[in-house]
Symmetry: C2
Subunit: 308 residues, 2 copies
């Protein structure tokens, strides 16, 4: 069993109330693959420039992530995003986006990457997502993320791609934009009517929620007193979620499997935001993951005392 | 065992995407007492004008709520709030507030109301809240709600009153305003440092969360596809919560009792918003409350499948 993720591998320049960082390792596929690597084998499909060196590759190697499908383009520079967060850390203001090598990205997957049992299409142009999806013929579980930019500029292609996946992860603002529906439950229903059997709605500091055929599941956010950098929280959430699902002894598409997966997603997201870029997840241990999963369970559990 | 609630009993004129209603029964103490009446005996302390008639009193009578402490002032009019909600139903825009009889409200509680085991100080001027709190000497559980207006205009008095209560319920924006802390967990800690042992933070469509000495508990919102009128959701939440706690066979200040209480609060809030004003809760049954409580439990439960 293994997960393949396609998406951005990038440098991020970040400004939060806790400080500034220039050109730290980032990108959706980076955050996803680091999180998923706590559960299963991961192949990352992406493109980088000459500025992407041994230090960055070592971060993937340390987590055993396969980078054979991470193309390196000579004489070009990696994708670079610059963003700033206000005090409440909920909204990222993009200061600058340099696509660089990403502008001509059109991956041809290696046999190993194409043979994955689980595929995650991180936030990239939806035509590209669909082309990758069709290369992974054996994937029994396929997830997709997107963003406001593609919803506005490539809606038809995005909807076509959504028809070919099992799970869509969007945040609540993106879900409203996609469906035109202000109500969350109706929006999730509209999204599932497009094809995906599972709608995983990310709600930033409020956690996430999941709509399936069987019902609704609410996943809290971990009540961190210090959030250093929210960048990559959603990708880490997806990484924990799909990595966990891929790790199950038997493929399990049950509601209960998705519930536990979403909690693992929230666990990984909660660590990701504790430091800049990938720094916290790089030093994360299996024991910390297990301990925080147990804490999530305690945060959600209650029994009813005896009434008069 | 019984609950006394002090707060507004009023008429509301409401405008939501689902329509307009003029002068429907409203007010914090109204919504609270109707919700609490599903669990225990309730006395409501408030003031109304001559425009408050038999139709309105019948709503309280139908739920067995004691209105001996609901003062009726001749030649005067009841408190009247007019508000409007946008499509997403999260923010109430106040169009008009007429205090009327409420401007000179200074209740002297009857023996019965003063003898309550549980007291809830709904959102009124904090000096008044404190005076009522001191009249209820036997109350073993005291809760308080407030709003941005009092946090800005009577902060010192509000903080003094908070020292004398067990539980404070605020929404997240109010918590940020009170503590000056954008982070939820830190804000809740700062609030608990003022005296209350429990911070219950209402998060509108995202549900609520609770901070106690023992830890953190997250309460989902019910995923309603149609929210008709959010007015009174927070008061219904508090009514369900404190009504349930008062109904326990033995006074129970345990973390687990508060957790179940908060879920009952969310159950009552979820019904309250299904129709204008008090209409939905007026026709609510015990069976519906029990069924939705069970649904909440299902929305929060998961087991971990076997991993490879």
């Amino acid at each position: 069993m293994s997960v393949t993720v396609v998406g951005s591998v990038a440098f991020d320049s970040l400004e939060t109330p806790f400080g500034k960082r220039e050109r730290v390792l980032g990108g959706a596929a980076t955050h996803f693959s680091l999180a998923a690597s706590f559960f299963t084998d991961v192949s990352v499909v992406g493109v980088v420039g000459e500025d992407f060196g041994e230090d960055e590759l070592a971060v993937f190697a340390a987590r055993g992530i396969n980078v054979d499908d991470l193309e390196r383009v000579s004489g070009a520079r990696s994708f670079h995003w610059s963003g700033r967060y206000e005090d409440d850390m909920t909204v990222a203001h993009t200061l600058d986006t340099q696509l660089n090598v990403f502008a001509d990205f059109d991956p041809q997957l290696s046999g190993r990457a194409a043979a994955a049992s689980t595929l995650f299409l991180a936030n990239i142009q939806p035509d590209l997502q669909r082309r990758v999806r069709r290369q992974c013929r054996d994937a029994t579980l396929v997830g997709l993320d997107s963003m406001n930019f593609w919803i506005e500029s490539a809606r038809d292609s995005l909807v076509e791609t959504m028809r070919e996946v099992d799970v869509v992860t969007l945040n609540d603002a993106e879900l409203r934009m996609l469906t035109g529906e202000p109500n969350l439950a109706r929006g999730a229903r509209d999204l599932r009517d497009l094809g995906p059997r599972v709608a995983l709605v990310k709600q930033g500091p409020y956690g996430a929620c999941m709509f399936t055929e069987e019902g609704y599941f609410s996943i809290p956010a971990y009540p961190l007193e210090t959030v250093i950098d929210p960048t990559g929280a959603g990708d880490s959430f997806a990484g924990g979620c799909f990595g966990y699902l891929d790790s199950l002894a038997e493929p399990d598409m049950s509601d209960n499997a998705f519930r536990a997966a979403a909690v693992y997603g929230s666990v990984l997201a909660s660590f990701a935001v504790e430091d800049f870029g990938t720094e916290r997840v790089q030093r994360l241990t299996d024991e910390e993951v297990a301990a925080r999963f147990a804490e999530f369970k305690r945060m959600m559990t209650f029994d009813e005392p005896v009434r008069a």
